[in-house]
Symmetry: C2
Subunit: 151 residues, 2 copies
DNA sequence: AATTAAATGTTATATTATAACATAATTAAT
DNA sequence: ATTAATTATGTTATAATATAACATTTAATT
């Protein structure tokens, strides 16, 4: 079941992706757009091979590289995230500073909440500076129980 | 090449693991201990199937579940970490609060620096509290360039 | 000693991801 | 406009990562 809110967020994210690609002269091809739509079709995260099954209904000749290449593109340009601890993918609703993004992953209901915190990023930056480490990407995934699953 | 320092840390970690298991009445079986030693044998991270190859030299009948079960045990009790963004494993040198652990992963030389920061944990806790999320595990992996690889 | 539980052995297979090369479409250079 | 170069996609095959399911052995409990 997909909430009304999710549909709105998805629709906005898709438009944003189109606009950003136009602006930056990045090619959001038909295929990539389709994959992005399929990612957003689900309320939560999606697995690559589930996406492949869905894509096959549109184009039966789709194969793993078809999906993985599109996913790579979408990640590279910040339209989706990969959840490393789940080997799964999820749409990103705000093409902002991705180093600030982190995920609350509920072990119970599998819902993902994407959050942004400059405070965390600052803490991460300041501690990695101490190691003289030039930070590129930040992967922060927090598992536990969401507020609906606490009892 | 394994540094003298790494050998010392490894040796200490292995002793600590033994002691902790005795204390807590957890069974660090011969196999699990062997796998832990193999993890520490390398200066950086190890992949499961590389471990399997090494284990096979000791016990040719070893198979994937042999390794994965031991790895699961070692992770569960905090003796090693799984690096989710690399599908790899690395020994943990301080059986402390694992929520504080994070990793600096150099894209260039593949070296991993394990760090602990209560400051980051506090920031993570405070922001996840805002979502009323009961935090269980924290996965924080930072990729970039280490100080030796900056130019 | 008998029973139960935990660990390991073993076979098979599921899941995730990429290499390598062929073709098509787009863009840039002449 | 034609050729060349680049980028994207198609296709086959396989690599890499991980687990399910059931059998056997070992250890702990009664």
């Amino acid at each position: 079941m997909v909430s009304k809110k999710h549909k709105q967020v998805a629709s906005q994210a898709l438009h944003q992706a189109e606009n950003i690609c136009k602006q930056k002269d990045i090619k959001l091809t038909k295929l990539r757009q389709t994959v992005l739509k399929l990612v957003w079709k689900e309320p939560g995260y999606v697995k690559a091979y589930d996406l492949l099954e869905k894509l096959k209904k549109i184009d039966p000749s789709a194969k793993p590289p078809t999906i993985y290449r599109s996913l790579d593109f979408l990640i590279e340009h910040g339209f989706i995230h990969k959840l490393q601890s789940l080997n799964a993918f999820i749409g990103c609703s705000h093409p902002q500073e991705h180093k600030e993004c982190y995920f609350l992953i509920c072990d119970n209901c599998q819902k993902i909440e994407e959050c942004c915190s400059n405070k965390i990023l600052k803490a991460v930056e300041s501690t990695s500076n101490q190691s003289k480490f030039a930070l590129d990407q930040v992967t922060l995934e927090i598992s536990g129980r969401c507020k609906n699953c606490l009892h």
